[in-house]
Subunit: 101 residues, 2 copies
Amino acid sequence: MRKGVLEYCTLLLLNRKRAYASDIITRLKDARLIVVEGTIYPLLSRLKNDGFLTYEWEESPQGPPRKYYTLTDKGREFLVELETAWNDLNESIAHLKEKTL
Amino acid sequence: MRKGVLEYCTLLLLNRKRAYASDIITRLKDARLIVVEGTIYPLLSRLKNDGFLTYEWEESPQGPPRKYYTLTDKGREFLVELETAWNDLNESIAHLKEKTL
DNA sequence: TTTAGATACCTTGTATCGCATAGTACTATA
DNA sequence: TATAGTACTATGCGATACAAGGTATCTAAA
C-alpha cells in the first residue's frame, strides 16, 4: 500500500532540510515509516535522474563522505503534484466510505 | 502511488454493496479513480483466492451472466486492517509535514 | 438466419516499486 | 594492521497496475 508514497514522503522530508540516505532512513523511522537501504538508495537515484534532486558530497566527522540531497525547482514542482495526487486519493476514499450505494 | 490502494478501495466499495467487475470499475470511476479491466480482474481473483471475497453467478437482464462479489468475514477483518494502515500512513505524512526539522 | 454491437469475463506480457541480500569503500580505534 | 562502524552501490525477486488481445453470451438489426 505504501508503493509510490515513499517518494512523496522523501520529497516532503527533503523539502524541509537536506539529508543523506542514512539520515533519511532515520527520519522516516521517526515518522513510523520503516524503510531500508535497498529501498532508499535506488529511490534517491531515480529522483536524481529525473531532475528532482541534486546532491553534494560532503565529508563526515566520522566515516566515509556523505551525499547530501536537496530538492531542485523541478523537484518542488513535482512535490506539489504529489501533494495534489495524495489529496485526491484521500477524497476518493472518503467518497467511497460515505455515499457509495 | 495508488499501488495497493485499489485493493482497499475495492473492499470499501464491496462492503457497502455487492457488485460485479464492470460495475466496480464504474463505481470507482465515479469516485475519480480510473481503473481498467486488466487491473480489476486479477485483483478480484487474488482477493477471492485469499478468502476475502466470494462470488455468485447471476444472470443479467441483457448480456452474459455476472459474477457478483461480496465480502467474507475474513474480508471484513482485512478491511479493518487496511483502514488502520491507511490512517497510519496519513499520520506519518502529517508528521513529516509538520515537525520535521 | 446471419451479422453486428454491447456486455462481461479472462489471459499474457511489460514496467515499476519495494525488499532481501551481498558487496565495496572510507575512517577511526584497538 | 586488523577490526568495527558508517555510507554508498548492485543484483535478483515478488507484487501491483496497465496495455493489449482474446473468448463467450445475449439482443437487435440486416
